[in-house]
Structure formats: C-alpha cells, structure tokens
C-alpha cells in the first residue's frame, strides 16, 4: 500500500523511495535586504536561480511580518497597511509549517533576519536561531576584517555554524 514510493521529483540526485532526506537551509538577511549568508546542508530540489531565490525569500518575509502584525487580534492600534514595520513593532512571527518543511524565522532589533528551513517534524527552533545569532555576533560582527553589509566570508563562522547544524539534523 505504498502510494508515494518511487515518485521522486525530477532532478533529484540519489534519492530513492521512502528517502526521508531532511533539508536544512539557512538564510541571513540584513535590514536592507542584502543576503549576508545562504547555506544549505541538504537541499534535494532547486527551482530558482540564487538571486531570485534570495529576493523572493526576503520579500516573502517582509510581507508576512507586515501581514501578521496587521491582523493581530490582541493589539488595539494598527497603522496603515502599506507602512513598513520597524524591527520591534507588531507581534513577532516565528514559523510556518507545511507538510514537507518548516520555516523558522527570527528578527533581531538591528534588522538582521535569520531564516532556517528544517523538516516539518522539528519542534520550536527559537533556541537554535538564538544560538546561531550568537555565533554571528561572535565571529562576524567582532571580526576586524568584516565590512558590515557585505556577504559573510568568515571561515570561523561557517565552520562553527556547520558544526552546530550537524548536531541539529
């Protein structure tokens, strides 16, 4: 009674039936929408070219945040729908889940957005996102050679990040 066996999506590499390949991807954007970091640890399917992918992701989260803050039933005052939100304003959006993946989101007061995509059975990832943000502060912000606003190319940061994410998978 296997309905889905053997139906691997096209373009998949060595995935067999019943393969529960977990995906894990991380995006880091700054306040202006510049993608500071994009890492993937296991991405079976790629649909767009990277530039478009980043722009879509940023746009999605920008609009989602704005939307979720505006339909919040617990706060009284709302601004106009088109006004962009400051990082602390409105309720904070954490994650959304589909049947195949879960997108976890964290925004810091300085406008740094961390987006982690995991498989849908992981629980709340707030602690992991906080830990990754801590790694970012230690190895990127405090690095004398890093120019803020440019894509991250710090060896120490990527090494520690990879190490940490392997414990999550």
């Amino acid at each position: 009674m296997q309905f889905f066996s053997g139906s691997a999506p096209p373009g998949r590499g060595a995935g067999g039936p019943g393969n529960n390949a977990h995906m894990h991807m991380l995006y880091i954007f700054n306040r202006a929408g510049v993608c500071l970091l994009y890492r993937e640890w296991n991405r079976p399917l790629r649909t767009l070219d990277p530039q478009q992918d980043h722009k879509l992701m940023f746009g999605l989260l920008f609009s989602l945040r704005s939307f979720t803050a505006k339909i919040d039933p617990t706060t009284a005052e709302k601004g106009n729908l088109g006004v962009p939100l400051l990082p602390g304003q409105g309720c904070s959006f954490y994650s959304f889940k589909t049947n195949t993946y879960q997108l976890n989101f964290m925004e810091t007061p300085s406008g740094i957005k961390l987006i982690l995509l995991t498989h849908s059975r992981t629980g709340d990832q707030k602690e992991s996102l906080k830990y990754i943000y801590n790694l970012y502060v230690e190895y990127v912000v405090k690095n004398p050679l890093y120019v803020p606003g440019t894509p991250i190319q710090c060896d120490l940061f990527t090494k520690n990040l990879d190490q940490y994410v392997r414990t999550l998978i």
């Binding site: 190895y139 405090k142 690095n143 050679l145 060896d155």
Partner: protein, 171 residues
C-alpha cells in the same frame, strides 16, 4: 580602582582605532600608520606597567622583567599567561601565545589570501592583521621601557590564533 567596562567595548575601540589609522589617516603610508599604532601601544604599555608593578620590588635582571610580562602582565591584560618563552640568553626572547585574545575572531578570507592581487585597493586581511598586531608590540615595548629595558618588539603570525612576539633587547 573599581570602574568596569564591557570587553566588547574594548575590542571595538581597538578594532576601530587600527582601521582608522590604517585606512583613513595614513592610507597611503602604511609604515607611518604602523608606527603611530605602535606609539599608541607604547603609551598604553607604559601606563599599564606603572599600575601593575605598584607593590613589587625592582626586578633583578632582564629575565625577571620578561617573566613578569609573561605571567602577571599578560594575565591582567588577556586573562591568560604566555604559553611558551624561549631565549637565546643573548638578549632575544620569543613569547608565544597559542590563543591570542584579539586574534580569536579573525578569519582570513580564503579568496583574498589566494588572490595575491597587487592592484586591489582595499587592504588584504593579512595586512590588517599585522597592523592590529603592532598595538600589542607597542604595549610590550612600553611596559619594558618603563621597567628600564629598552628593546625592539616584533610580532609573527604564521598561524592564527597563535602568535609570537620577538623581543630584542638593545645591549
């Protein structure tokens, strides 16, 4: 003597000072920038050694003074001691620190290191790191100067975050 400041503030000030001197003030004359940074370190080392040797008697000889730098002075500044001290007994000392605090967060950009392009305008990571290392060299020189030993200090950073400081005492 009770005022405290967050360590990230000190790190930030030092990074910005080095980058300001190297990139804006003397951007076309890197050796002048290096000397200026070293001179700032000299002042700092001078004053710090005054503060940290307040209750101690005079040092018997050069080796005692260097050992003070390796143990007490370094642990006041960086919360650890120098890991390895070598000397040739003829005025040259090599102090090796295997995990130098100000270098722990630097990761040299691998693309820039491999691409030894002389036409690139921005300073490479290795240059900036060597600028940063002039400051602790100055600190050591200032501290020793205040203890009555005039010397020259240079730093060697073959593998981060370990680095060694070479002190040559002028006889």
């Amino acid at each position: 003597m009770g005022r405290e400041v967050a360590e990230s503030c000190i790190d930030g000030v030092i990074i910005e000072m080095v980058s300001a001197y190297a990139s804006s003030f003397y951007s076309s004359k890197p050796d002048l920038a290096a000397r200026r940074i070293e001179a700032i370190g000299f002042q700092v080392g001078h004053q710090l050694s005054e503060r940290y040797t307040m209750e101690r008697p005079r040092f018997a000889d050069h080796l005692e003074a260097i050992k003070f730098i390796c143990k007490d002075f370094w642990s006041e500044l960086f919360k650890k001691q120098i890991d390895n001290l070598k000397t040739n007994h003829r005025g040259t000392f090599v102090l090796q620190d295997n995990h130098f605090r100000w270098l722990t967060r630097i990761s040299l950009d691998p693309a820039a290191v491999a691409n030894n392009d002389a036409t690139s305008e921005s300073e490479s990571g290795a240059d900036m790191t060597s600028m940063l290392l002039y400051f602790p060299c100055g600190i050591i020189r200032g501290a020793l100067n205040n203890l009555g030993i005039s010397c020259a200090v240079s730093a060697d950073m073959t593998n981060l975050p370990a680095c060694s400081f070479v002190i040559r005492i002028k006889a």
